[in-house]
Symmetry: C2
Subunit: 130 residues, 2 copies
C-alpha cells in the first residue's frame, strides 16, 4: 500500500485547483487563480507542478502544455500515461486500460533501449462532437 504523501502549502494549493478543475489547466491560468492566495510568480507555480508531477498526482498533457490530476493509481508515481483529447471541444480524459498499459510497458524497441516511462496522446472527436 502506497503511503499518503503530504505536500507543502503551495503544492497543496496548486493540487487543489487542478483536482477541482474539469479539464486541463495551464500554468498561467493556475497562477491567475491563486493570486488571491498570495502566490504571485510563475516560479511558484512551476515549482509546485514539478513536485506534483514527480509524485504522480498530476500529469502534463504535452501537446497542450497543460496539467491534469491523475485519475488512476492515486498514490503511485505514474510512469505510463495515456490520454484521449478531443480536437473539437478540447476535453481530455486519462485512459485507464490495463491491457493497453501492459502492452506498452512490455514494449521493447529493437535498438536495445530500455524504457522507463511513456506518454501516449490520442486525438480525435469525442462522442458529443462527432
Amino acid at each position: 500500500m502506497a503511503q499518503t504523501q503530504t505536500f507543502s502549502k503551495n503544492q497543496q494549493i496548486v493540487l487543489d485547483i487542478i483536482e477541482k478543475a474539469k479539464g486541463p489547466l495551464k500554468a498561467y491560468s493556475i497562477l491567475f487563480n491563486v493570486q488571491k492566495k498570495g502566490i504571485n510568480a510563475p516560479q511558484q507555480i512551476y515549482r509546485a507542478l514539478d513536485k506534483l508531477i514527480e509524485a504522480g498526482k498530476i500529469h502534463k498533457i504535452e501537446s497542450k502544455n497543460a496539467f491534469v490530476a491523475c485519475k488512476n493509481s492515486n498514490c503511485e508515481v505514474s510512469k505510463a500515461t495515456a490520454f484521449s483529447i478531443c480536437e473539437s471541444c478540447e476535453i481530455v480524459d486519462e485512459i485507464s486500460d490495463e491491457k493497453l498499459s501492459k502492452y506498452l510497458s512490455k514494449f521493447n524497441e529493437k535498438k536495445g533501449m530500455k524504457f522507463k516511462r511513456f506518454n501516449l496522446e490520442f486525438f480525435g472527436l469525442c462522442k458529443k462532437c462527432k
Copy 2:
C-alpha cells in the same frame, strides 16, 4: 503510390535543415541557422513547420518542443507516431513497428471517442547511456 509533394522556398529550406540534422531541432535553432538565407522571423519558421507537419514530412516531439524528419512512410501524412527518447543523451528515434502501430490504430476507448491520430513518446536510456 503517393505523389511527391513540392514545397515552397522557405518550406524547402526548413525541411532540408531538419532532414540533415542528426537529432530534433528547435524552431529558434532552425531560425538561427537560416538567417544567412534571408529568413529573419520566427513566423517564417513556424509557418513552414506547420506545412511540413501537415504534409507528414516532419513530426513535432511534443515533450521537447522540437522537430524531426519523418523516417517512415516518407510520402504519407503521418497519423500514428511513436518515438523513443533517451533521457540522458537526448537522442530521439522514430519507432517503426508495424505491430505497435496497428495495435494503437485499432485501439478504441470505452467512452466512444473516435481516434484519428496518436502520438506516443517512450523515455528511457539508450544502449550507450545505460
